[in-house]
């Protein structure tokens, strides 16, 4: 064992320090507990307290056994599947949540379930924790190595195993990239529904860990609605099959517990996914509004009319301008908000439904409603939407994408709060989000070279989340809790809830070696779960 539980806990309580001695230009501050005296910045927010966890490599016991461990793992996966050099490990120092960074001490790139199983067995024998990683596109720091020196990356397990169109199922290794699932069956007119914006890069294993969504989940549901079974390797190496070919569980729905558990139950190595028939036709409408109030009113009116589109996406003025500059979609520069509404189904009924939506949007105050004339126009609209985050990169050196949820009818309220907070913290915030689900994505623009801006960016995110919860919403719709939102969990959950969730996690991972220190604020650490008792809103 690498030190007693008590000594590990003490490390959690070390003060949080960001070492900027190595920070030049746009490179990010590094987190370390041993930053020395030069240029220490105490980020006041407890948000990042977990990063005070000292790298295990820094402990003499672990540093001493690292070469032996690397050799043992190389025996299992081959030397070409181990990364131990610091310069190469730096690539893995963060996911899409870039506020904090730390590279693992060792990276393993297994090719098979047997590899994963043997690797986890070897780690268990040494009492070493691990962090799973897919493509690293997560947005909440879910694969940041905290007290888990070994990272197991599934990117080489990227084969489609088999598909069975008669049963609308496909079996894939967990490192398969999301878009490649649909690509494998597109010719036969089938598709895999969850379509996160990162779908060209993110892996199915990562999607399962985060229970990822995407624009089209309004109609089709999120990842958990489309996973029929998984092969899961538990810490210690045992391989278990959960779920199966039938659309009905035998016993407890453990599969449902694993999806969205952020890699804390073990490593998913294979998954059987549900495929859907490609709809006969689509109609994609673009609604242009003078302001977000009218756009959100249109969203509510469409849903209230009994129409469930495949997607309803909104962008506000700041995003519209960034997107227009990047992609020349033809959005009017003075538009206050645009809605992209997509409906799909039988060709026969779509025309009438599209006209109804256009009428509703016009009644709600749309300046103009346009129908995408062809597939190229539709593709351009979606490109603009899905790459909106990238387009924002033009506006500021850094941006933090928040993810919160409110009941759909509270969208105007939360957008007002965001506007107010933007002024108060003096940071520009753009909004591009899944309006149909009430799932907001405020994008906070900042410059990480200015520590005060970093602090304000973190605080404004926290304030937005608080407001979401106060409106009966949630801390995250699709990005996960990860490291980023652990401290906010008590806003949403009472201590009993968190205790029971911890118990659920321990069912899979009694020793806590699978992606430790994520999701739930740990009792016994600096961050107690003992928030004032309140009846959390269901």
């Amino acid at each position: 064992m690498l030190g007693s539980a008590a000594s590990r806990r003490r490390r959690f309580c070390a003060p949080f320090i960001i070492d900027r001695t190595g920070a030049h230009g746009k490179s990010a501050p590094r987190v370390s507990a041993n930053a020395g005296s030069a240029h220490r910045i105490h980020i006041g927010a407890i948000v990042l307290q977990w990063l005070a966890v000292e790298s295990l490599a820094a402990t003499p016991q672990f540093a001493a056994q690292l070469p032996a461990l690397a050799a043992e793992l190389a025996e299992i996966v081959g030397a070409d599947a181990i990364v131990a050099r610091a310069s190469e490990l730096a690539v893995y120092e963060c996911d899409g949540w870039t506020i904090a960074k730390r590279a693992p001490d060792l990276l393993v790139l297994p090719r098979t379930t047997a590899h994963v199983s043997a690797v986890l067995a070897a780690l268990e024998r040494r009492g070493v924790a691990f962090v799973p990683r897919g493509a690293g596109t997560g947005l909440s720091g879910g694969c940041l190595p905290l007290n888990a020196p070994v990272m197991v990356c599934t990117s080489r397990m990227n084969h489609v195993v088999a598909y069975d169109l008669a049963n609308r199922r496909i079996e894939v290794e967990s490192g398969v990239v999301n878009i490649n699932v649909t690509n494998a069956v597109k010719a036969a007119d089938y598709f895999y529904a969850p379509d996160p914006s990162s779908q060209a890069a993110c892996t199915i294993g990562g999607n399962i860990a985060e229970n990822s969504g995407g624009p089209h989940t309004l109609k089709y549901g999120v990842t958990t609605n489309h996973v029929l079974g998984v092969e899961l390797v538990l810490a210690g190496g045992e391989v278990v099959e959960l779920g199966g070919p039938a659309d009905e569980r035998l016993g407890y729905d453990l599969l449902g517990a694993v999806v969205g558990a952020e890699g804390t139950c073990g490593i998913v190595t294979r998954a059987t996914l549900r495929l859907l028939r490609e709809p006969q036709a689509h109609r994609t409408l673009l609604g242009i509004f003078a302001d977000v109030e009218r756009a959100t009113a249109a969203v509510t009116a469409i849903i209230a009319a009994g129409i469930i589109p495949a997607a309803i996406e909104m962008m506000d003025q700041l995003i519209i301008r960034a997107v227009e500059a990047a992609f020349k979609v033809g959005f009017p520069a003075d538009a206050g908000a645009v809605l992209i509404v997509e409906i799909d189904g039988l060709e026969a009924g779509l025309g009438e439904r599209a006209r109804r939506i256009a009428r509703i949007a016009t009644d709600a105050g749309a300046v103009e409603v346009k129908l995408a004339r062809d597939e190229a126009e539709r593709a351009l609209l979606w490109k603009a939407r899905k790459r909106a985050f990238g387009a924002v990169g033009r506006l500021a050196p850094n941006y933090a994408t928040q993810d919160g949820v409110v009941p759909r009818t509270r969208l105007p309220d939360i957008l007002r709060v965001i506007t107010m907070l933007s002024r108060h913290y003096n940071l520009a915030i753009g909004n591009v989000f899944h309006a149909g689900d009430g799932n907001i994505h405020p994008i906070v623009l900042y410059d990480e070279r200015d520590p005060d801006q970093v602090r304000r960016a973190i605080e404004v995110g926290r304030e937005i989340l608080k407001a979401c919860v106060e409106m009966g919403g949630s801390l995250t719709g699709e990005h996960g809790i990860g490291v980023e939102k652990q401290q906010e969990m008590p806003l949403l959950f009472a201590p009993e809830d968190l205790i029971v969730m911890s118990e659920l996690r321990r069912v899979f991972d009694p020793a806590g070696h699978a992606n430790p220190n994520k999701v739930i604020p740990q009792p016994g650490g600096c961050v107690e779960v003992a928030a004032p008792r309140r009846q959390a809103p269901l």
Partner: protein, 426 residues
């Protein structure tokens, strides 16, 4: 449990909940529990749980006694009825979500939602006698599961009373939410073995503008299933069912395997889709109130007559396979059936007097058929006289079962929540 112990328990519950909070079981409830408690709120349930854990006394959520009453070999000591916890907690039609207490029936809930053109699109048999707690606890669904999913797809928040009487909640009232572990999935289909569900939040769907039901008889089961899958491939069906002759007779098609497929949408869509159906020999259609009436009879089909407490005369099971395997699997069982044909789910049954040896042999044959199709089977109901001889659940694979036992031990360390009638004897 002796009568003296039952009297003692009744007195203890009376002290906790008052005289109106305790009663004797009525009718089929007698197979579910010896004494029934009717708490008013989750604090009273918490008090009951603490009392039972101190006993220890086994307790089980009662629902409307339809599920547990059909599968328990011996009654639990205390049945917890949520009949007095049957209110809507919050309903915001424009959000398409609702929160309700678990004692409310699905039928009552859907009546309220229909006022706003909405529904919770889960349709197990007899929604008027299915509480939301039972709907979730036994993961019940009906024909609409093809287009709308099952409780796990629609449950977005849950509150339950568990070990030490602690009230626990997971999820919330928003339709998209990945904060924390998914306790909704854990509670769905847990058959009361982890706690008593007190409150549930669901996402809702609009009631479609129009609904057209097509019926088509077939001489052979395989033709019916084959057509069902072809239609499913061509159209966004609302549901597609295949009934064996014993059930087809109730829809005026004795001796046939009957396909019942439905489409929904606006007038243009319905007209367009009917074209696909009209190629089917002998097909007939209904729209409007007539179609809805037929659908409700389909939903509420009683597969085998309800057995009296001393009866040994029926057995009903549910098969789950990959959809394309279902036809062969059902035929292999040789049983009468009602199939959610494109979902890979069928309920099969045998009626008439059965001795225990025949029941065992029949069930073994059904299981062989299910496993040959890489599926599984669970008994939904069996006459009480047969139950001691039958295993209600298949055994999950060893690795999964080990995790399930750990889950049970973690959530119910005192072992009082509906023990002994779930998978692996949990």
């Amino acid at each position: 449990m002796s009568d003296v112990q039952v009297d003692k328990l009744e007195n203890e519950i009376r002290k906790l909940l008052g005289a109106e909070g305790v009663r004797q079981p009525r009718g089929r409830e007698a197979m579910a529990a010896r004494i029934i408690a009717e708490p008013r709120d989750s604090d009273e349930i918490a008090a009951l749980v603490r009392q039972c854990e101190a006993g220890p006394t086994t307790l089980a959520p009662l629902g409307a006694a339809r599920t547990l009453g059909e599968i328990r070999r011996a009654p639990a000591m205390l049945g917890v009825s949520l009949a007095r916890m049957d209110r809507i907690v919050a309903y915001e039609p424009e959000d398409l979500t609702v929160i309700a207490e678990a004692g409310m029936t699905l039928g009552a809930l859907n009546q309220r939602l229909a006022e706003h053109g909405q529904r919770l699109p889960l349709d197990p048999c007899n929604p008027g006698a299915t509480t939301l707690g039972a709907l979730i606890g036994a993961s019940q669904a009906g024909p609409l599961r093809l287009s709308e999913g099952t409780p796990r797809d629609l449950l977005i928040g849950v509150r339950f009373v568990g070990h030490e009487g602690r009230t626990v909640h997971g999820g919330g009232r928003v339709v998209k939410n990945v904060a924390g572990y998914d306790l909704m999935k854990v509670m769905t289909g847990s058959f009361g073995t982890l706690g008593i569900i007190t409150e549930a939040a669901f996402k809702l769907r609009p009631i479609p503008e129009g609904y057209t039901l097509g019926l088509a008889p077939f001489a052979r089961a395989a033709e019916g299933f084959d057509t069902a899958l072809k239609l499913h491939d061509a159209l966004p069906l609302v549901h597609v069912e295949v009934l064996s002759p014993a059930l087809a007779a109730r829809f005026g098609h004795p001796g046939a395997f009957l396909l019942l497929a439905a489409i929904a949408g606006n007038a243009v869509e319905l007209e367009d889709q009917r074209g696909y159906f009209s190629g089917l020999a002998g097909a007939s259609f209904s729209d409007g109130a007539g179609a809805v009436e037929t659908y409700e009879r389909l939903r509420d089909l009683e597969l085998a007559p309800t057995a009296g407490l001393a009866s040994t005369s029926m057995m009903t099971a549910q098969l789950a396979t990959a959809p394309a395997e279902l036809a062969r699997c059902v035929e292999d069982t040789g049983a009468q059936f009602r199939a959610h044909a494109a979902c890979g789910i069928a309920q099969i049954f045998i009626g008439g007097e059965l001795d225990s040896a025949t029941a065992r042999e029949t069930l073994a044959r059904w299981r062989i058929a299910a496993h040959a199709a890489h599926g599984h089977l669970r008994l939904l109901a069996a006459a009480p006289g047969l139950r001691p001889h039958l295993d209600f659940f298949d055994e999950p694979p060893a690795g999964a079962l080990k995790l399930m036992r750990r889950l049970k031990a973690a959530f119910d360390p005192a072992g009082v929540f509906n023990p002994g009638c779930f998978v692996g004897g949990i």
